[in-house]
């Protein structure tokens, strides 16, 4: 995608004492892009998003929103950015409309402009029917929508959503996904975090995988699936001499995890397509009766597990 990045993380570091919550994270997000930020608990997602939302300052490095630094120009960044944290932030004795109205006022919207923003946000997040409902009595799903509504009340060009799908039922997840897509199609740039890659795969243009404060991979979901492949799961069927085939495989250095199931042999090979082609040729040259040879499509979970494997403790 062309143009200047809307979100530009520049070697971001954030340490809490000895904890390196975020260390050396850099990536860019372009206008209209949905960027998924994926990592297990304690990976540093919230920490880096909070820095981006100008709630915290980095130990080293900087983050730019629309070219403005979160350290030096927090006011300009705030005007352009809506943040939906992973907590709710509620007031006693306030209903949904009053809540949104308050934040609209806080963002400096006046009169007609405020009423418009309010009715649009309530319409967009389907909160119309809940306008007079006290927010203490909202369900998780309603709260998430209200939160999303609050974060977009001032019509920001960038939205930072910290685990918006947490605790939602499948239907609400799909609705949320549609909302996010719709926002992106309207030109908003969105950074959304989750623990689960599959949850974001469909709606994200690109994802970044973070663990222990380090960014392990950035790219489209397909790239992550493919590009990170150092191990390839292969499924092969030989119609005779299966034990001999298995022991032949075992002797090779580039093959591991061999599972035999009747004629079916599954194993993983280190390397990419050329290595696989080479292996097949050798199998045939070794006179094994190969009836089937194929690469098993890696699931997203596999890819994710794989990418994060080295660092999990």
């Amino acid at each position: 995608m062309p143009g200047q990045p809307v979100i530009d993380m520049r070697r971001l570091h954030r340490f809490f004492g000895a904890t390196r919550a975020v260390s050396d994270i850099s990536f860019e997000v372009m206008k209209g892009e949905v960027f998924g930020y994926i990592g297990p608990n304690g990976a540093g997602k919230t920490t880096s998003m909070r820095i981006l939302a100008t709630l915290d300052i980095p130990t080293y490095g900087d983050a730019l929103v629309d070219g403005f630094s979160v350290i030096n120009d927090p006011d300009r960044v705030r005007r352009r950015l809506g943040f939906m944290p992973d907590y709710f932030g509620t007031y006693a004795d306030v209903n949904c409309r009053e809540y949104l109205d308050f934040f609209a006022r806080a963002y400096g919207l006046r009169g007609r402009e405020r009423h418009q923003a309010l009715s649009h946000v309530m319409g967009f997040t389907k909160l119309d029917g809940l306008a007079e409902k006290p927010i203490r009595g909202l369900s998780k799903g309603m709260k998430q929508r209200l939160c999303l509504g609050r974060s977009m009340i001032h019509d920001p060009s960038v939205l930072i959503l910290d685990e918006p799908a947490a605790g939602l039922d499948p239907r609400a997840r799909i609705e949320l996904r549609q909302m996010i897509r719709e926002l992106a199609d309207n030109g908003k740039t969105i950074l959304v975090s989750s623990h689960i890659l599959t949850e974001l795969a469909e709606m994200c243009d690109r994802v970044g995988i973070i663990e222990k404060g380090e960014l392990l991979a950035v790219g489209t979901v397909a790239e992550i699936q493919r590009g990170q492949v150092t191990h390839c799961q292969i499924r092969s069927r030989v119609i005779a001499n299966v034990p001999a085939f298995a022991s032949w495989l075992e002797e090779r250095d580039d093959v591991e995890n061999i599972h035999v199931d009747g004629q079916l042999v599954r194993f993983s090979q280190i390397g990419d397509m050329p290595e696989q082609a080479g292996l097949l040729r050798e199998m045939i040259l070794a006179n094994f009766a190969v009836a089937e040879f194929g690469i098993e499509q890696r699931s997203l979970e596999d890819a994710f597990m794989h990418v994060t494997r080295g660092v999990v403790q």
Binding site: A53, L55, F88, E98, R105, R112, Q116, H154, N186
Partner: protein
């Protein structure tokens, strides 16, 4: 928000007529009223609007209000019964006012400041403060909004008791000046205490400290309220009081008033600074305010010194200033030593600017210097004034130089104690973060040790 770029926003297809639809079904009179409220509300601080709405639904407010009305009613009955049958001919205003005053003082001096404290503290605990801090609201607006809603509550409580207080005037025996004086100063005290409550709310976010502070605040508020009501009740009941005819009395009141105002402003500034973004300049304006306070104090005290020709004012002047600067210095020393690039950019760049304003820059070292320089300036002013008085034979002078010794000693104490405190802070900073609260506690501890030391050795 830029309204011109809504074309790309999902809001662009809005239907503005929809909002007015439900309003138009009502009578035009009510519509006019609603419009007026709307228009007025647009200008108001959003926090004030929100908390006004909240208050109407809040149990705490409703309960306090009901209790207030109930207590007012009970006292009216009880008081009249006690005065009976003299209520028809003897002036019972003073007696009745005492009761109403106590009834009013408790919510206004305890409940309101404490709920201002809770309101800001809860904002930080519930995470709503973070949400607010990234809106267009400045931290000062947040604090003034909280203060505004405290004032709103005060006014509601006042108006609830207004008929009762008018009733005391009708009972005779009390003049309108006393009543207004009483209500006015109680209002001022309530505002000031509320600003203190707001500052206390921002001191710490640690849960255990927060609990301790809220207990301390509540106890403090109760003590203040107790002494306040006691002294004012004695003022009410003292029928001989003629202070209102005295010019000096009003001068003193004006002096106190200027300090109340400047302190209220300063407390708001402190609270706002405490909750502002970490890379903001939290200090320069505060230091300017400290200087204003110092100027006011020196001005009034010198004025009284000349007016009353009493040397005691010099002692009061320097003693209070020393305590003031010791405390301010202890707070300033707790500031972070590192300037954010954002702050650096806003500092004066010229040589002259740097020379004059360096001590206004945030930082622990500049804080120490700022306090000391101010105290020393004050000492020089006093010395010059005092010596001039002695030489010119001014009546306030006594012909001895005890005051000179006192002034020098006091200043030296502050410089030394703060210096040791600063040294400890510098050393501790090698190990980790030192907050303002910790710095103040260190300095407090130093003073306590310093005071206990001789006692310990004599004993």
């Amino acid at each position: 928000m830029n309204s011109s770029d809504t074309s790309s926003s999902p809001f662009a297809t809005g239907d503005p007529t929809k909002i007015n639809a439900d309003v138009s079904s009502k009578g035009s009179f009510w519509r006019a009223i609603e419009t007026a409220i709307e228009l007025g509300g647009e200008r108001l601080n959003p926090i004030l609007v929100k908390e006004g709405r909240q208050a109407l639904k809040s149990k705490q407010f409703v309960i306090t209000f009901t209790l207030l009305l109930l207590a007012g009613w009970v006292w009216s009955m009880l008081g009249v019964a006690l005065l009976w049958p003299g209520v028809y001919y003897a002036p019972g205003g003073r007696f009745m006012l005492c009761g109403y005053f106590v009834i009013l003082a408790i919510p206004v001096l305890v409940t309101v400041p404490f709920s201002a404290f809770r309101s800001l503290a809860a904002e930080r605990e519930d995470g709503t403060f973070e949400l607010l801090s990234i809106t267009a609201l400045s931290s000062r607006q947040i604090v003034t909004g909280k203060l505004g809603s405290a004032v709103l509550q005060m006014l509601v409580y006042y108006s609830a008791l207004a008929p009762c207080i008018a009733f005391t005037y009708l009972l005779r025996g009390i003049d309108i000046v006393t009543i207004v004086f009483l209500l006015f100063w109680t209002l001022v005290a309530s505002v000031l205490l509320s600003t203190v409550g707001l500052v206390v709310a921002t001191i710490t976010r640690a849960r255990h400290w927060q609990v301790l502070l809220s207990v301390l605040l509540l106890v403090g508020l109760c003590i203040v309220t107790f002494t306040w009501t006691l002294s004012f009740v004695s003022l009410i009941t003292d029928t001989q009081a003629t202070a209102f005819d005295d010019v000096d009395f009003w001068l003193a009141m004006s002096a106190i008033m200027t300090f109340c105002i400047s302190h209220a402003i300063m407390f708001v500034m402190i609270a706002a600074a405490q909750i502002s973004f970490a890379s903001d300049n939290r200090s320069t304006r505060l230091r300017a305010m400290l200087l204003v306070q110092q100027t006011l104090w020196v001005g009034w005290m010198t004025f009284f010194w000349i007016r009353f020709e009493a040397e005691e004012f010099l002692y009061v002047l320097v003693s209070v200033a020393a305590i003031y600067w010791a405390f301010a210095g202890a707070c300033l020393m707790g500031e972070a030593a590192i300037l954010s690039p954002r702050v650096k950019r806003s500092l004066p760049q010229s040589f002259l600017g740097r020379m004059c304003f360096t001590w206004f820059n945030p930082g622990s070292g500049t804080g120490y210097t700022f306090a000391i320089v101010n105290l020393l300036t004050l000492v020089i002013i006093i010395v010059v004034a005092g010596l001039t008085a002695e030489l010119e034979g001014f009546a306030g002078a006594r012909g001895n130089y005890d005051w000179l010794l006192y002034v020098t000693l006091v200043a030296a104490y502050v410089v030394a104690y703060l210096g040791v405190g600063r040294l400890i802070v510098v050393l501790l900073r090698q190990l980790g973060r030192v907050t303002i609260l910790l710095t103040v506690l260190i300095n407090l501890l130093l003073v306590v040790i310093g005071a206990a030391f001789p006692v310990f050795f004599q004993g």
